[in-house]
């Protein structure tokens, strides 16, 4: 264990994570049935579930840390590494797959130069797949920052990335002024 373990120093970031986790979970009841809602809330706040947060939650619910880790790794929704500023989720439901979702995924991988489940080194984008977002009629779908985009083919991948680039440049200019 890192944080809070006898003899190891608790770094500032770890302490901050613990603090934020504590803040987030204090309004929940201390029962096992709340584990998943708690994890969802903490991930919503921190963007992912670092080890310190899981330790904190285990202590709060008085359950073994391994049980928290077991639940976190069982469900697809939870992530163990920090997300990028923009979340790219390629839908690979049946309709999306048959209409070329896998080709779209390839295009994202190629453009961002990362594999699914990874974050770009500048932490700008993270790429993952999702089983089905239920927009099968708009296939192939990519969910960009929680907004489902319909009919995302390789050329639209380039278009979406270009829009982000413009946005960044726009912000940069404003700062300079």
């Amino acid at each position: 264990m890192v944080a809070g373990y006898k003899g190891t120093s608790v770094t500032e970031e770890q302490a901050k994570i613990r603090q934020e986790t504590k803040q987030t979970i204090k309004r929940f009841g201390r029962k096992r049935g709340n584990l998943i809602p708690i994890l969802q809330k903490v991930q919503e706040r921190l963007g992912y579930l670092p080890r310190e947060a899981m330790t904190e939650i285990a202590e709060f619910l008085k359950i073994p840390e391994i049980d928290v880790y077991g639940v976190v790794t069982f469900y697809n929704q939870f992530r163990l590494n920090p997300p990028g500023r923009h979340a790219i989720r390629v839908c690979l439901g049946t309709a999306c797959h048959m209409k070329g979702g896998y080709i779209t995924l390839d295009a994202w991988k190629r453009r961002l130069d990362i594999d699914r489940g990874e974050t770009t080194p500048d932490r700008e984008f993270d790429l993952d797949t999702v089983a089905c977002v239920g927009c099968c009629t708009m296939a192939p779908v990519t969910v960009v920052d929680n907004k489902p985009e319909g009919k995302v083919e390789p050329t639209k991948v380039d278009g979406i990335l270009l829009a982000f680039e413009h946005e960044r440049e726009g912000k940069g200019k404003k700062k300079k002024q």
Partner: protein, 638 residues
């Protein structure tokens, strides 16, 4: 129930209903126009929110007072974003494929002046002399909307809209019946669980009611994990109160005080709408302590799933509610005897619960008058894939697949040939042309090798490879297997590896027998539905499309030109136009370059087979084709 309690309940509700109807009447029967926009998730993916913004801005600019209402899914997803304009003097007119520019025109030309912009019309909602109505569409003859009646008609964030359209009156009626009569009524209706397995709902309730344990629970299973299915999402987003009403009635019938609605985290809009609906129901005293001033207390909590397909299985769902990894348990005991925290629990699908108010309101006889002998009522299907009218349809049980695909769905786009329809997601199967005349009900689909499942229907055409779709589903079930049973955990992995080999052109002919043996063992050796049905996509494709497997293995050829390792893109030199550069510009990896004669050539080493160039090549040249096996590409270009 005592007479004074009954009086309190009915008078409280009557007052509420009067208010709601008054508001609804003011909205739609005034001299003002009303604009309705379909804003469920699929509408939003197509840009419905931009349309809403454009409408509101333009109305403000023109100084018009005209309400813009966001409703749920109307079922015509192929034409999203959809806008309905109800203007006095005109029938309500529905417009399809609306974008912000068209939206502004509708305001300026229809609302402000009197030009109904006929060029964008999809159809009218009522019969009239001006515009063809939806009742004239071929699909109208097959559709029968019961569960989807309110979807796309009311604002799901306003409880008044639901009440004004007959909502919650079934609850008041149900509260006047003894619970046993209520259960009998549901039993008589013949309603079978819409989650896919088809267990009679009334019987489930009866078992749960007769159990001594307390407290009892009712759970709404909205963990619609089947890729390709979106009926439950649409209902939760478009008409959440119908599910809540069904749950309160179910709670009263079985004697439960608490309920849970379990919704997938991948459906954020459904989560939001259900939360709003629960808050409103509590505020209106339809939920919580002393419902409508009577003695019944019942409350519902929303629980978000965390992205595990197996949690659609009821015992796994319960495990996840209890805060554990979603691993199924051995049944019996069934949840109706021992479920959440070991207490008697009824778990019903979203569609089963939203059918309940209709059964109570109109009677069991009315419900049972639709459908086949053993499957009563209607079936809701989500049409997707290679079909013209993608969207939601509700048809009576017993309608044939051919009617649903070709009459309601208008067949296959682009003049392509129908190949198969995938029903029931990873647990279902692919049915070919020859099985299309099967009337849809729980038993007939199982006989054909597929299953009802939750109702996802993905249509496949000649460009879809059946081995690849089998591989796709195996990849899905393999990843989602919880790992408890050895056969499911390891067997699906073996099957997936064999199928991957076949799609890569490295299959052996004896692999087909191996697949069949493995399929049998996995079905026999798995505890829950996930494992028991996982081999179905492979078995049905082997049963109906064995020749495609053989072409992959024997010739290294993908007949549908889909498997990436077995195809190559090729530009026919005789057809390529020297002065055209369309493909070069669109190629995402710069794999296309002209030769000395300015004929374009694809560098097979660089090509990632994304297909963008085929789209870009102008139709008058139509020079780019796919070849399989890749060795068909002339040697000079390799």
């Amino acid at each position: 129930m005592k007479a004074d309690e009954l009086k309190t309940i009915t008078s409280t509700f009557e007052e509420m209903k009067k208010q709601a109807e008054l508001g609804w009447g003011e909205l739609f029967n005034s001299d003002k126009a009303v604009i309705v926009v379909g804003a469920a998730t699929c509408g939003r993916a197509a840009g419905a929110m931009e349309v809403v913004r454009a409408l509101r801005n333009e109305l403000k600019r023109q100084n018009l007072d005209c309400p813009v209402i966001e409703v749920g899914c109307m079922g015509h997803c192929y034409a999203e974003p959809i806008v309905i304009v109800s203007k006095p003097g005109y029938p309500p007119i529905c417009y399809g494929h609306v974008n912000p520019v068209i939206a502004e025109r509708l305001v300026r030309e229809f609302i402000l002046r009197d030009d109904p912009c006929l060029e964008f019309v999809l159809g009218a909602l009522e019969e009239n002399e001006l515009i063809p109505s939806f009742a004239d569409f071929p699909r109208a003859g097959y559709e029968k909307k019961v569960i989807l009646k309110n979807c796309g008609q009311i604002d799901p964030t306003k409880i008044e809209h639901y009440i004004a359209n007959g909502g919650y009156s079934a609850l008041v009626k149900a509260l006047q019946m003894p619970p046993d009569d209520l259960i009998n009524e549901v039993k008589r209706s013949g309603l079978r669980g819409r989650g896919g397995a088809g267990f009679p709902t009334g019987e489930k309730w009866e078992i749960c009611r007769s159990m001594p344990g307390k407290p009892k629970y009712i759970i709404c299973n909205g963990d619609e994990g089947d890729p390709g299915a979106f009926m439950d999402r649409a209902i939760l987003e478009s008409d959440p109160h119908s599910v809540i009403e069904g749950m309160i009635i179910a709670g009263y019938a079985i004697g439960a005080r608490y309920g849970y609605i379990y919704v997938r985290a991948e459906y954020p809009l459904a989560v939001e709408r259900v939360q709003i609906a629960l808050r409103q129901a509590r505020k209106s005293k339809l939920l919580g302590k002393d419902i409508l001033g009577g003695n019944l207390s019942f409350d519902i909590r929303l629980f978000q799933g965390s992205g595990a397909f197996v949690c659609g299985e009821e015992t796994a769902l319960i495990a996840s509610l209890e805060g554990s990894p979603g691993m199924p348990e051995y049944r019996p005991p069934y949840p109706a005897t021992s479920g959440l925290y070991g207490k008697p629990t009824v778990i019903n699908n979203v569609k089963s619960l939203s059918s309940i108010p209709h059964i109570i309101e109109n009677g069991a006889k009315w419900f049972a008058s639709t459908g086949t002998e053993k499957s009563k009522g209607t079936a809701v299907f989500a049409l997707a894939g290679k079909i013209v009218n993608t969207g939601l349809v509700e048809v009576p049980m017993g309608t044939t697949l051919r009617q649903v695909i070709f009459d309601v769905g208008s067949g296959i786009p682009g003049g392509k040939q129908f190949k198969a329809v995938q029903i029931g997601g990873p647990s279902g199967g692919c049915l070919p042309e020859s099985a299309l005349d099967v009337p849809i009900d729980f038993d007939s689909l199982t006989d054909a090798g597929a299953m009802m499942g939750s109702g996802g229907m993905v249509v496949l055409d000649e460009d879809d490879c059946m081995v690849e779709i089998a591989r796709y589903f195996l990849e899905f079930t393999q990843r989602e297997s919880c790992g408890k049973c050895t056969f499911c955990r390891l067997g699906t992995k073996q099957m997936l590896e064999i199928l991957t080999d076949i799609t890569n052109g490295q299959g052996k002919i004896e692999d087909i027998d191996m697949l069949e043996t493995l399929a049998e063992d996995i079905m026999a050796g798995s505890l829950c539905g996930l494992g028991k049905t996982a081999p179905n996509p492979v078995l049905t494709t082997l049963r109906y499309f064995r020749d495609e497997y053989e072409a992959h293995i024997r010739e290294g050829r993908c007949p549908a030109l889909m498997c990436q390792e077995l195809i190559a893109f090729y530009i026919i030199p005789d057809k390529c136009e020297r002065s055209c550069d369309a493909c070069i510009g669109t190629c995402t990896v710069e794999a296309i370059s002209p030769n000395k004669k300015r004929i374009k050539i694809i560098d097979q080493e660089k090509c990632v087979k994304c297909g963008t160039c085929i789209v870009a090549c102008p139709p008058q040249y139509d020079a780019i084709i796919k070849l399989s096996p890749p060795s068909e590409v002339p040697a000079s270009e390799k």
